[in-house]
């Protein structure tokens, strides 16, 4: 029984982190109408930023969080204004290839700068912390990642749903031409979406770097999982992505608990394809 509860708690903790990564992806898609195939690599970049801040400058990963957010946010904004914006005027092929190219580029840069080894952050303050309730163990890094992600996701939600700029962002996503007629500068909104998408992913990355080693291909699993979550939740839907992230977090943990953990991604993609078959607009998406 306590095994089940432990698995459930693990699912919650994982789901919370995945939610933050996926919300970044879905904000970009919702506003800019481009799928960021490099999103996993955004996580990778943030983890490396955290690793460098910690190994070179002695920051604790928790303190490196703003650094990671700034680095990845900047990567997002820069890629938008250099390549994504011109590609938006092109065909669907251009729109897919541009972030596909970014993904390859970022992996290449990581390999060139850091090599292909696994790098682990040493001596993070959190790694020696843990909370135990009965038989249930919540290691410090994972718990902090979950809580931090929830807070950050909440902040993004507050910004988008409660502030005027956030509403302008929604307006651009719902009807870009009408937003333009209201004097909302679309490029500013697009850039802002990439900034939010990048920075929030950077926060998630710094949190994850507390307990997971970084290497140039670490983004792959995050990116794929985030795609699945965003597709399940309905592209562009923040609430949908949030719920789907927990569903995927649970699925990942329970499938590993009951079966072979090597297959956990098979379950996730299987679920994805099933949902695509019967509800292509996602769980909360609009048809």
């Amino acid at each position: 029984m306590s095994d089940l509860i432990q698995t459930f708690v693990n699912g919650l903790m994982l789901g919370s982190v995945l939610a933050l990564v996926a919300v970044g992806l879905t904000v970009i898609y919702g506003v800019v109408d481009i799928v960021n195939f490099a999103h996993g690599e955004f996580v990778m970049a943030g983890m490396y930023a955290t690793f460098v801040a910690s190994s070179q400058f002695g920051f604790d990963p928790l303190l490196a969080m703003p650094v990671s957010a700034a680095v990845v946010g900047l990567i997002g904004v820069l890629s938008f204004f250099t390549f994504v914006r011109p590609a938006m005027r092109g065909t669907l092929l251009s729109q897919i290839f541009v972030t596909f190219g970014l993904m390859i580029f970022m992996r290449g840069v990581a390999q060139t700068l850091f090599g292909s080894n696994f790098e682990t952050i040493q001596g993070a303050w959190l790694s020696s912390q843990r909370i135990t309730i009965g038989d249930i163990v919540m290691p410090g890094p994972q718990l902090a990642a979950a809580v931090g992600s929830l807070v950050c996701t909440g902040a993004i939600g507050w910004f988008i749903y409660r502030t005027t700029t956030g509403k302008a962002l929604q307006a651009t996503s719902q009807d870009p031409d009408a937003a333009l007629m209201m004097g909302i500068n679309p490029n500013k909104m697009f850039g802002l979406a990439w900034l939010i998408g990048g920075a929030s992913t950077g926060v998630a990355a710094a949190l994850v770097a507390n307990y997971q080693p970084v290497h140039p291909n670490v983004g792959l699993a995050f990116g794929l999982t985030a795609f699945v979550i965003v597709a399940l939740g309905g592209f562009g839907s923040i609430g949908g992505a949030f719920l789907a992230a927990f569903a995927v977090g649970m699925l990942e943990n329970f499938s590993a608990f009951y079966g072979d953990s090597a297959y956990k991604q098979v379950w996730i993609f299987g679920l994805f394809i099933l949902v695509m078959l019967f509800r292509p607009q996602g769980l909360l998406g609009r048809a």
Partner: protein, 332 residues
């Protein structure tokens, strides 16, 4: 009036433009092993062949029909594992390759059923999904060699689909024949009704559908075609390397590589994948020698793909066409 059957005036230029690529490409590929005459050059040439075959196959679906798949490693893997299993159980590799083509076609139908219900980005993501599922299933299957894959030990000779050492040029020319097969069938398809339909689907699926183009059927046909040729490339690859493993054959990296090759060359032209194969090979070898195999090639490829997507979606072929237009303008 044509004198002596020669087309007159400006159409000579047209003829040149039509046939020049054939002469250039086929000439280049035909002469390559003669000009670059060492087993290691031939190994590179063989690599170039399987790049070109795989990218040509991919391009029928990705370029001509405009359905960007990032899951074609599955078919590459099927081809590779077909001959690897043949080696394991001592069947004939040729038969295995043909069997692999059939399996690839069947898998394309099975995968096509769910993924073609999706369009655009969704389709691409779904193909990543099917590719990863196949990868994980193979990696975790005892029967399919698990994470290790298969080391092969073919004897040399035509019947064994293998030549090593000084005889490698024969292997190269076999690849050349397979590539010709892929290109000629691509040309035939692109000139047929199917080519016309695929173009309509790429340009505007809704419009094509309202004009009565059976979209699902033709997408599926394009998928089968591309799966079959990518599986041929996979068989050829495994025979040459004498190895088939999940990370080399079934992984997303393989899908990505096939896609990069087509994109760099230009997805709207049958020559794009071939240019892409040449350039890809050249650049990756060059960066390997110059910078060591540390991922700098990815930096370059990623950058090229971004630039192409943003400014010249039809790749190097598109750049070439622009250049040719400029020349023609300057002439007149």
């Amino acid at each position: 009036m044509n004198v002596n059957g020669l087309p007159q005036g400006s159409s000579v230029w047209g003829m040149v433009r039509q046939y020049l690529p054939w002469v250039l490409f086929l000439g280049f590929f035909a002469l390559y092993p003669i000009v670059f005459d060492s087993p290691s050059d031939h190994t590179l040439g063989i690599k170039m062949m399987w790049f070109a075959i795989a990218a040509t196959g991919w391009n029928m679906l990705g370029g001509f029909a405009g359905q960007i798949s990032l899951g074609h490693a599955t078919f590459f893997g099927v081809g590779a594992y077909a001959v690897a299993l043949a080696d394991e159980y001592e069947w004939n590799p040729w038969l295995a390759m043909i069997l692999g083509m059939g399996v690839a076609a069947i898998i394309a139908v099975i995968i096509g059923w769910p993924v073609f219900r999706l369009k655009g980005h969704y389709f691409t993501i779904a193909t990543i999904g099917t590719g990863e599922i196949a990868f994980l299933l193979v990696r975790n299957s005892e029967f399919l060699g698990g994470t290790e894959g298969f080391l092969m030990r073919s004897d040399e000779g035509f019947l064994n689909f293998y030549w090593g050492g000084r005889q490698k040029w024969e292997f190269y020319y076999l690849g050349f024949v397979l590539l010709l097969l892929a290109v000629v069938s691509t040309v035939m398809i692109s000139k047929s009704r199917m080519g016309y339909y695929l173009q309509a689907i790429r340009n505007n699926q809704e419009a094509a559908s309202s004009l009565g183009v059976p979209i699902a059927k033709y997408k599926q046909l394009a998928f089968i075609y591309s799966a079959v040729f990518v599986s041929i490339a996979g068989s050829y690859f495994a025979q040459q390397l004498q190895f088939a493993g999940p990370d080399e054959a079934f992984s997303l990296d393989t899908s990505i590589r096939i896609t990069i090759i087509a994109v760099i060359g230009g997805v709207l032209s049958k020559w794009g994948p071939m240019i892409g194969a040449i350039v890809f090979l050249f650049l990756s070898e060059w960066t390997n020698i110059r910078f060591g195999g540390n991922g700098f090639d990815l930096v370059i490829f990623g950058f090229i793909v971004m630039v192409m997507a943003a400014f010249e979606p039809n790749g190097l072929i598109g750049l070439g066409n622009r250049f040719a237009h400029l020349l023609e303008k300057a002439k007149s």
